[in-house]
């Protein structure tokens, strides 16, 4: 369940993060090291989200088809494949594996 209040809260926080930069420009300098911690926090979250979304469904294992598709996508990303190719490959591999009976 996702109530409207949660959506508005996320929207407000997000807009605040966006607005802070243009408002504070010239008045504050973010230390380079602090900026790197922000960036690393986002990377850690994205990778953790990728791992849990690829491997788990609810509290259990998601089956082999989905992680296989995501793995192919990951290899394509490291080979600098265009974004549309990456996304379609992930869905395609997973769909084909399921068609072949792999859950």
């Amino acid at each position: 369940m996702m109530p409207m209040s949660a959506i508005v809260a996320l929207a407000a926080v997000t807009y605040a993060f966006r607005l802070a930069g243009p408002l504070l420009r010239g008045r504050v300098t973010v230390p380079a090291a602090a900026e790197r911690v922000f960036a690393d926090a986002a990377t850690v979250l994205l990778i953790a989200l990728a791992a849990t979304a690829a491997l788990t469904a609810g509290h259990g294992f998601a089956g082999w088809a989905r992680p296989a598709g995501v793995l192919v996508a990951g290899v394509l990303v490291t080979r600098r494949a265009p974004f549309p190719v990456v996304v379609i490959a992930a869905a395609g591999v997973t769909a084909l594996l399921r068609l072949a009976g792999v859950s």
């Binding site: 959506i7 989200l49 791992a51």
Partner: protein, 254 residues
């Protein structure tokens, strides 16, 4: 729409359209998976219009569909969007102008629009690239999410099309190119192991937040941060030297 009359070069427009195509696929997938997972149609639509930050929308819906609470969903989305703050600093010159343009431009700050602006150096071109990407992406993103919602409500078995694999694939496409330093890779790897290991035992949403504990593993990064603070407090040491030290220690194995 005067700002659109400063048309960008055909090469930029082509790249923007390619990015829109890619994000459009994600938009369809986001809309379809959200409603197929049982959320009301207006949830992905409202998120796309009001939040307009794909990664955090996907994360928030992912947490909720995984059984997590709305609070955990908002937290996960908010942490992902902290990066918009340094982005805003980077493109502050581009969104300057009358108040309405500033309010609108601020909402269009995304990974993509900032990346396009940063690739240009002349102010006019920066502006044209940012606004072209921002406006087109907003239109394409919301249209494709609507399309996905329509598809998701008619096609019941979206899993057969492998759409559930597109979420993590997008996350990887966004995150893998940022794994440039060893300390970042260690932090991300540790975070992923923490999140997956805790998923069977913790309520949904919490393993993701626990993954931030992986930041503790980037010890070289923290040491550099402490050094930078120490030298900032001591005017005798030039401030840049500590940062350069960190670059050297973190970037040595790049």
């Amino acid at each position: 729409m005067r700002f659109l009359r400063r048309t960008p070069s055909p090469a930029i427009l082509r790249d923007v359209l390619l990015v829109c195509l890619a994000d459009g696929i994600v938009g369809v997938s986001f809309g379809a998976t959200s409603v197929a997972g049982g959320l009301a149609w207006w949830v992905p639509v409202a998120l796309s219009v009001l939040v307009f930050a794909g990664g955090s929308q996907i994360a928030a819906v992912g947490v909720v569909l995984g059984g997590g609470s709305p609070v955990a969903a908002v937290l996960a989305g908010a942490v992902l969007n902290t990066r918009l703050f340094p982005y805003g600093l980077a493109v502050a010159d581009v969104v300057a102008g009358p108040w309405w343009r500033r309010l609108l431009g601020t909402h269009l700050i995304t990974d993509e629009s900032v990346a396009f602006a940063m690739r240009q150096s002349a102010p006019e071109r920066r502006r044209a690239a940012f606004w072209t990407c921002g406006v087109l992406l907003f239109l394409v993103w919301n249209a494709t999410v609507l399309l996905g919602v329509a598809l998701g409500s008619t096609v019941h078995n979206t899993d057969a099309f492998g759409l559930d694999a597109t979420f993590p694939a997008v996350m990887l496409a966004l995150a893998l190119p940022t794994l440039t330093s060893r300390s970042t890779r260690v932090a991300a790897g540790t975070g992923a192991v923490i999140a997956v290991a805790l998923t069977p035992v913790l309520p949904a949403g919490l393993p993701l937040l626990a993954a931030l504990g992986g930041l503790g593993a980037r010890w070289t990064g923290w040491r550099g941060w402490l050094d930078a603070r120490r030298s900032a407090a001591d005017p005798g040491v030039p401030r840049d030297s500590a940062v350069n030290q960190e670059e050297l220690s973190a970037g040595g194995k790049r």
